[in-house]
């Protein structure tokens, strides 16, 4: 297993008041994304556990793109990966952020 953690500073906190949510399932080509509103409002942290080693730069790029688009300030994101492709990861992250805004 490879563990990756990325920390970002955001311009604003993520909208909404939902304290936590989860989306996706740990299955082949899929992943689960747990979001918790537990960090300072200008901080986002993404921790990833993946059985597919060696894709750190790809994860870094996908996470950076998500943070730029969603501005998920205050959110700690924990991912259990089942070997998802970058586009699936990106969609799940945006899905999770939207659920937190409800």
């Amino acid at each position: 297993m490879e563990s990756l953690t990325f920390r970002h500073t955001t311009a604003k906190p993520l909208a909404g008041t939902v304290p936590s949510t989860i989306t996706g399932v740990v299955a082949s080509g899929n992943l689960e994304v747990l979001l918790e509103r537990v960090l300072p409002p200008d901080t986002c942290e993404v921790a990833i556990e993946t059985p597919i080693a060696g894709y750190g730069p790809v994860w870094e790029a996908v996470v950076a793109d998500f943070v730029a688009r969603a501005q998920p300030g205050g959110i700690r994101i924990s991912i259990n990966d089942g070997g998802a492709r970058p586009d699936t990861v990106s969609l799940r992250l945006l899905q999770g952020a939207r659920l937190m805004e409800a």
Partner: protein, 309 residues
Amino acid sequence: MAAQMAASTDPQALSWYEATARQRVVALADPGTFTEFLPPTERRMSPHLPLFDLPRAFDDGIVVGRARLDGRPVLVAAQEGRFMGGAFGEVHGAKLIGLLRAALDVRPAAVLILFDTGGVRLQEANAGETAIAEAMRAIAEVRSAGVPVIGLIGGRAGCYGGGGLIAGTCSRLAVSEGGRISVSGPEVIETNRGAEEFDSRDRALVWRTMGGKHRRLIGGADAFAADTVAAFRAAALDLIGRAPAFDLATLEAEQARLEARIARFGDCRDATEIWARLGVNDPDAVPAMTTAAFDETVARVEEAHHDAR
């Protein structure tokens, strides 16, 4: 959590087979009444899977909690068939067993188990096998206390291995066409006995041997549900209302029922032979029947109705 809100789409339309465990629980229960025990934020994950370099799930593949069904309190467990085939590991099993034991204290109107499992998780097989045995014991105790335990089966992993054993101890079972109930799965039988005995790639054979319609016709399941959450909810409410007592008379009736079944059908080579003996006019037509037509067929089959289990 917010996932519950997103999941509460129209239960009439939500496919049980396609839904996740979380979506099933939330849509099955009265709106807004589900409270999860040990939710993903608690991170009660498998202590064994990292040894095998395998990914874990925050809920270890099972969602447990309390809810209301038609206003009445129930405890609910739902397996996630897409995480490791819904298999029983140590934490997964402990969550189900803990829920069942809690039923002895809180005395809900029923415990609902939404099976979706291939059986025991091989990477933690000893813990998984123990969990199967403890779950069956716990169900016996819960039923003895007068609380019905209802199994709902319609997920993509079916209900196999130890899950099939646990299902056999429930008060009543509801199954959909996509659901399958057995102990040894198709691939296991083929591996041990050869493709001549059972060709696991013959999907029609698999479904008419282990599928929902066959189980319902022979009385292995007590309700047949269309593949929607609404249909499973209606089936659960119906089954809670007519769950048998768990006493010596019920167990003796069950023993007699199973003995009669093996005596009557033990020499059949295919499920269609069994259906013919059950009095189904056109056995070959059963797999393609709509739910409504199948319900009419079931109503005429004596073996599908019983007071045992």
